[in-house]
Point group: C2
Chain length 534, copies 2
């Protein structure tokens, strides 16, 4: 049981307005190079926004002395907690009109701090926005509206310890504020890993993953963090509770499943017992190219409906494959990866490659390894994957409207859905901007009964109106998803940006139950107001 958590990121400054580390941002020259790829880009990059240029007023409320040690009104902190990291947030920062700046930022160090802060906020009518790594791309960590006296951003990242490890049950009690690398570093000496690696891994926390039902490492079987939860501890304005540590239970509706995906609107998840994995000892990966995207979809479906359970099964359409360097000839690329701590995985990869070839795939020689370098297309794609949000922000400085959105649907609807999204989003972008948009698609997580297509959109915006352009494009995307009965989100939560689509998606009896639960747990409606329920 380590007493204090290491902080691998301590020495590098996070950007207050853009993705990740400030020193990883593309510089002006790189921005110009990116802009050269974008018809209609600005002639020069928008300046890097500065906190000093924001009109940050005095906080509308003061923390009581008993809580003063965990609360700050420092303008840098407040600015960094005003929004998440969606394109919409980046664009607002670049244009000098960020979301509402919170009055205060709290960094509780234990559960009692959290309970005390909620009690004080309830008495004072202060809105509380739970905040993990701040990587929300759906407006999940900002305040909109004016029904509250003031806004407190509740930053959990000072609660970042692995508190206890049970090696027999291969599980650990982890505080919710631990960022991905922080918790993995504490698990490593025990030979264990949570193995949850979303694109935001470095800049998001366990609590954020749980509150948003994040999609993680595994392309198949246990793709969402939900399945790795053994028990949750939640602080609500109506009291605190812990579910029992159980591998499974048939006792009533699952208590944990009510708080998983609750996005900070029902309570604050302070810690969780999580199911862990052994580190894989056997790995094998390969990529397969397809001349025909629809045949590639059939191949992926066949593999998803087998019991081969690839850890990685990502299909890149021609545009996505070109952008990441995985192919240059207009083919689609399927990246397959298998891993196991138990037994070699070469046979599983070989069977999957046979299936892919049966659907017209051309498979390259598989790369089998412990930690040896993987297949070239795999590596190219991985690097591009982690770099992508930084490039997005660089493109944003060149006036681009560029972001991603994702969905999930059953297989019967997937081919028509992908075609319709491409067409309608391109049409909407053309109408708004006069420019031809790039709309690429990849499948990141696949299931026996469906898949999760992930779309990237890029187009030059109307200078100064980038946010409005993006909102129009997003509205067109939401509309086509809704008509195809495809989920408004697969692993990015609902937040404030997806509320209209969410209200259409959820069944009305569940909405009634959720509102009732909100009223019972948060009677003064101070928790993340506007998220999930009004």
């Amino acid at each position: 049981m380590p007493a204090t958590a290491p902080d691998p990121a301590a020495s590098r400054a996070r950007s207050w307005w853009g993705w990740g580390y400030a020193d990883s941002h593309p510089d002006d020259d790189e921005c110009l190079a990116l802009g050269a790829l974008l018809p209609g880009a600005l002639p020069r990059p928008l300046p890097v926004p500065r906190v000093a240029d924001l009109a940050i007023g005095s906080p509308g409320v003061t923390a009581p002395p008993a809580l003063a040690h965990v609360v700050t009104a420092d303008p840098e902190s407040r600015a960094a907690h005003a929004m998440g990291k969606a394109y919409r947030d980046i664009a607002r920062a670049l244009r000098g009109r960020p979301g509402r700046i919170p009055d205060l930022v709290a960094r509780p160090t234990d559960e009692q701090d959290v309970a005390d802060l909620l009690e004080w906020a309830g008495e004072q009518g202060v809105a509380v926005i739970p905040f993990g790594g701040g990587s929300s791309v759906v407006g999940g960590v900002e305040y909109r509206g004016d029904a509250h006296r003031a806004v407190l951003s509740l930053d959990l990242t000072s609660m970042d310890r692995v508190v206890e490890i049970d090696t027999a049950s291969r599980s650990a009690l982890i505080q919710a504020g631990a960022l991905g690398p922080v918790l993995e570093e504490q698990l490593r000496p025990h030979g264990l890993t949570l193995r949850h690696f979303p694109q935001s891994f470095e800049f998001s926390t366990l609590g954020g993953w749980l509150a948003t039902r994040a999609g993680g490492h595994y392309a198949t079987v246990h793709t969402h963090i939900d399945d790795f939860v053994q028990s949750l501890r939640v602080v609500t304005p109506a009291g605190t509770g812990t579910s029992w540590r159980l591998p499974a239970s048939g006792a009533g509706p699952s208590p944990d499943r009510m708080f998983l995906g609750s996005e900070g609107a029902l309570g604050v998840i302070t810690e969780a017992w999580m199911r862990l994995q052994e580190r894989p000892r056997h790995k094998a990966s390969a990529s397969v190219t397809f001349a025909d995207f629809h045949r590639a979809l059939d191949a992926v479906r066949a593999i998803a409906q087998s019991d081969l359970a690839p850890a990685n099964c990502r299909l890149l359409d021609p545009g996505e494959a070109l952008f990441s360097g995985a192919s240059h000839d207009g083919s689609s690329v399927l990246v397959l990866g298998f891993e196991s701590a138990t037994a070699p995985v070469g046979d599983r990869l070989a069977t999957a490659l046979d299936m892919a070839r049966g659907h017209g795939g051309r498979g390259e020689a598989p790369s089998m390894s412990g930690d040896a370098p993987a297949d070239a297309a795999v590596s190219a794609w991985r690097s591009a994957f982690l770099r992508m949000p930084y490039l997005r922000d660089g493109l944003a400085r060149m006036g681009a409207v560029v972001d991603t959105f994702e969905t999930a649907a059953t297989w019967d609807r997937i081919p028509a859905l992908i075609e319709a999204v491409r067409e309608e989003v391109k049409a909407a972008a053309l109408k708004c901007t006069g420019h031809e948009a790039t709309v690429n698609c990849r499948l990141t997580h696949v299931y026996p009964d469906g898949a999760a297509p992930y779309f990237t959109v890029a187009v030059a915006g109307r200078p100064g109106d980038e946010v409005e352009v993006w909102d129009d494009i997003k509205a067109a995307a939401s509309d086509v998803l809704h008509r195809h009965r495809a989920s408004i989100t697969h692993h990015h939560a609902v937040g404030r940006d997806h509320r209209p689509g969410y209200d259409l998606q959820r069944p009305e009896p569940f909405a009634l139950a959720l509102r009732a639960a909100k009223d019972a747990l948060d009677p003064r409606h101070i928790l993340n107001p506007g998220v999930l329920v009004d």
Copy 2:
């Protein structure tokens, strides 16, 4: 799309008071033979109870003409819907004091019938007990109390069709009242199967499995029916709703997970889109014997923590193995089975057998097959498994107190938990009856982080006081489970029998939310009163 469902059980009469088919019950001679195994048994079997001997009064309410065609007050029907099939229910029937006989039994044929019945019941203050196959072993389908004017048993088994099949997404829309064999027969022509085979398979329905979060076919990975749910349609007194058909979604807390396990207290599940499987083409099974039960536990844990994913991984302790004929020398027996529609499974079985041998197991030669006869211990156990509830009822007629209960706990607690349950339940039984009880244990479902021990208890009761004896034994069992923080139930639901344990297990904020949801969806509290919330 078959227009009407076949009914394979149509020609055989169900017992109104005991398990399953009346013609499968042990006769008096078999009962005497069973009694010979039980010290303190009655000298002759209790008579088979008859509906004619029950004091069934006139119904306290009459259905309106518009609903008369789906409602009956026939005494045989009413008696058969008075209780589930726990030992407690059998003993009450044998002693002529069954639970409250419902006033009416309704057999709706479509969703509108269900909605109309709920509306009428709400207006009239009539309690509604949703009823599937009636196999509840936790008092889940009876009425206790006197707060309602009358009681209606809502039998869903006339809604038993597979309505639609989507072969691309390998899923089907199935009405909730379909019994196991009824739905499998409709799926078979499509080469698909739900593959959910609880012990009650013949006598329980899809809706019952969903409402109780039943444990099913798979010993590992997707062990509960929950994971095979794509979407639910639920009729509540506050309205009807359907969740979207999605392979996964990150949009808020899962709507389906609120109704899974809701035991008829929040709404009536009328149909569900379920994820299906292909029938396995490759199978392999074997049994392994262990001289030491604790080393067998270690072996099972190692296999559960691998990624081998056996479909069957059942560990029988020496008593359970002896009873089922799987071993006669005091050893424990591990029954392993692998299956796949994709690829041969011999390697996976071989790896698992190696692991078992590493923990002192003696493995027999594996049997690999399509549908060839399996290993002898496997077969012996399977036959005993399906016959067990009938034998239980035969023993009950000989005055035995005999039933099962199950739990789940993380691995760190499993060995001490099993020992404590054995000791404390034996002590409680001895104190109540003066007889030495048999307490056997098997693990039916295993997880990387824990297991689900299943206990069988048998002891001669005090003649006439069998129900009270069982209640005392069950109270001792609940107490030891609670002290070990082991679930009050893993796949038998909460019902009325487990309410005290359930109230201790669930976290208080969740209890608040659940009560609020109940008030919102069932404001007059007519749905299965006393289940989950008061």
